[in-house]
């Protein structure tokens, strides 16, 4: 199939992408593969948010669930839309700086250069920070549970941050639906910060403007030093390679199949009604154990109710579908879904040149 054929198909797609947007970038993260190593977080931070008033920003963060997340209790700060008709926005809150966590000073210099034998530690008395509740999770031994949730901007189809800005400083790029803050237009009013229900827009007190994940657009445009197209840094640097990056309307790509055909990749908090374009394969966990260490097959370790809170009621069908396909493969059968979820072919994992 030629590239032109793919493009034609893309234009005829039934997928709901935003008005005025040609194609929609999308990402699928398989939560079953995340080991919480924060390599994605550091890759992003090193590339985009080192210094210049960005110290506290993590455009990509990985938080432990259940947990309060980053910023603390972000799921309770509202924002988004009142309903799926996207006529009324839900007012949101701005988190105080301390709920993101401080930028702590450490005694590196004393230890490294002055011969101090003090332990390396913050020179303040921190009370909160990203990953403060890492690996705590919920449940009681031997049935405690947690999983990691990597988060970036969802580059939503109905972005409430864009609607919140009175200056139209935020916009969806026509060519790929990436949501950006025009730094020339932004005047730091922060209605976008309070309007995003995922709290993925950040205020830079040094530049007095707001900033956010840019889906590494210079990388996907091939504008880097090597002139090659790259997936986002968070995806490419991921040790277990849990992310697929491409276009939602690329009907031959794995993202389309996982989201639209098998419906096993789900948006986070769909009730915010912003229609995210980052999707998650929900986490699977072993069943609960009895006191004598035996598996109790009928009781799931991660309560479905909790997963439903995060991913909506479609999580039941998604997990059932995955279970069905796993079972099929266990029995010696074939499953395209299982092949996609286990694919290590970068050409499939990162499909960023299909529409060029």
């Amino acid at each position: 199939m030629s590239t032109d054929d793919v493009q034609d198909q893309g234009e005829d797609t039934h997928i709901d992408i935003a008005d005025g947007v040609d194609h929609q970038v999308a990402m699928v993260m398989d939560l079953n593969k995340c080991i919480g190593c924060q390599t994605c977080t550091i890759a992003c931070k090193t590339l985009w948010t080192e210094g210049g008033g960005r110290d506290y920003m993590y455009w990509n963060n990985v938080e432990t669930k259940p947990g309060k997340g980053y910023p603390r209790d972000w799921e309770e700060s509202a924002g988004g839309w009142e309903s799926e008709d996207h006529s009324d926005r839900k007012p949101g809150d701005i988190h105080p700086r301390e709920e993101y966590g401080g930028d702590w000073e450490f005694n590196h210099s004393e230890i490294m250069y002055d011969g101090s034998d003090e332990p390396l530690r913050p020179q303040t008395d921190p009370e909160w920070g990203p990953n403060w509740d890492e690996d705590e999770g919920a449940g009681e031994y031997p049935n405690s549970y947690y999983f990691y949730l990597p988060r970036i901007c969802n580059h939503c189809t109905h972005p409430s941050c864009v609607e919140a800005c009175p200056r139209k400083a935020l916009y969806k790029r026509e060519e790929d639906g990436i949501v950006l803050v025009d730094q020339e237009r932004c005047r730091g009013y922060r209605y976008c910060v309070e309007g995003c229900p995922y709290d993925k827009v950040y205020y830079n007190a040094m530049t007095k403007k707001s900033e956010k994940c840019i889906f590494c657009y210079p990388r996907i445009e091939g504008e880097g030093p090597d002139d090659e197209v790259h997936a986002t840094a968070c995806a490419e640097e991921c040790p277990p390679q849990l992310r697929l990056v491409g276009y939602l309307d690329d009907e031959d790509g794995p993202i389309y199949k996982l989201v639209e055909e098998y419906e096993v990749a789900l948006p986070l908090h769909p009730e915010f009604e912003t229609t995210p374009n980052v999707y998650y394969i929900p986490p699977y966990a072993p069943p609960q154990h009895s006191e004598d260490g035996e598996s109790i097959q009928s009781i799931e370790r991660i309560p479905r109710e909790y997963l439903e809170e995060l991913f909506g009621d479609r999580v039941h069908d998604a997990l059932d579908t995955i279970e069905r396909h796993r079972d099929r493969v266990r029995r010696g059968g074939e499953s395209e879904l299982m092949e996609i979820l286990q694919d290590k072919n970068p050409a499939q994992q990162y499909r960023l040149e299909v529409f060029e």
Partner: protein, 283 residues
């Protein structure tokens, strides 16, 4: 009776009643001279513009003590933003002056907290803006002008920065490529005093203040510690800087009132003379 009448007459033959009539005439003429100043008491939306010899760009310059201030009632702007109607500043005082080259505008308002620093995502600056029509002969829509009738906005923020902006409606403020407005601020006795200084002469898209006509003016105030920013602000109605003579301004007005005074004087003299002659005839 005749003796008493003669005793009440002065050497020129003026009787007491003549004196009363003269006094009334003098009062009438005096009133005619005084009336213009009474009748020209300022309309509520007029901002007098005083001439100053010195530079008044400092908000604490002594000259401001002698310049009349107009109190402007402020209310929330209907911007549609969250909490837009929830604003804290009720009024601001506006003063204006010019010297040979510059215009000086001082805005003062009560605000106990001087929000000068924004160290985190939940802090906002105090701020004030003065709005004048780009084309001073046409009154633009109050909400930051319109696309065909823009406004100049002089904006000062609590961090000490100022901007000269052009706007053609809400959400359209654009900074001038070169800035010609200087702003200085002082926070004293729980009040902000901010002066804006700009050369009188305008240029493309820049309001010309070197004019002999009134120029509309409005102000907006933001209280940072009340989370006010953007369209969540306390704004005034249009007022005007009294830069021109106005429809009943000094030259026209003086001639009219002088003529009226002379007419009163003439009628009075004729009346007195008529009375005197009538009495003379009677004697």
């Amino acid at each position: 009776m005749s003796d008493r009448q003669e005793a009440n007459s002065n050497a020129d033959g003026w009787t007491r009643s003549d004196m009363v009539i003269v006094a009334v005439v003098v009062l009438a003429v005096g009133a005619a001279a005084t009336l213009p100043s009474i009748s020209s008491a300022r309309p509520a939306n007029e901002v007098p513009v005083e001439s100053v010899s010195a530079n008044a760009s400092s908000p604490t310059a002594p000259a401001w003590g002698d310049i009349p201030a107009v109190t402007m009632a402020l209310s929330s702007a209907p911007s549609g933003l969250p909490e837009a109607s929830n604003v804290s500043v009720q009024s601001a005082r506006l003063q204006a002056a010019t010297n040979d080259t510059h215009a000086f505008v001082r805005v003062s308002w009560s605000d106990a907290t001087a929000d000068r620093n924004v160290t985190g995502p939940t802090a906002f600056f105090d701020a004030v803006a003065v709005q004048v029509p780009t084309n001073e002969s046409a009154r633009p829509p109050i909400a930051m002008g319109g696309s065909n009738n823009p406004v100049n906005v002089w904006y000062w923020s609590g961090d000490g920065t100022s901007e000269e902006l052009l706007a053609g409606g809400a959400g359209t403020t654009t900074e001038f490529a070169s800035q010609s407005v200087d702003a200085r601020a002082a926070h004293e006795n729980d009040s902000w005093h901010v002066t804006f200084t700009r050369e009188l002469a305008g240029d493309a898209n820049r309001t010309d203040l070197d004019v002999e006509r009134d120029v509309d003016v409005a102000v907006a105030v933001w209280n940072g510690s009340y989370d006010e920013r953007a369209g969540r602000k306390a704004v005034s109605d249009w007022h005007y800087l009294a830069l021109g003579p106005g429809p009943s301004g000094p030259p026209y007005q003086t001639i009219l009132w002088a003529a009226a005074g002379l007419a009163v004087l003439f009628v009075s003299v004729v009346t007195i003379e008529g009375v005197r002659r009538t009495r003379g005839d009677g004697a």
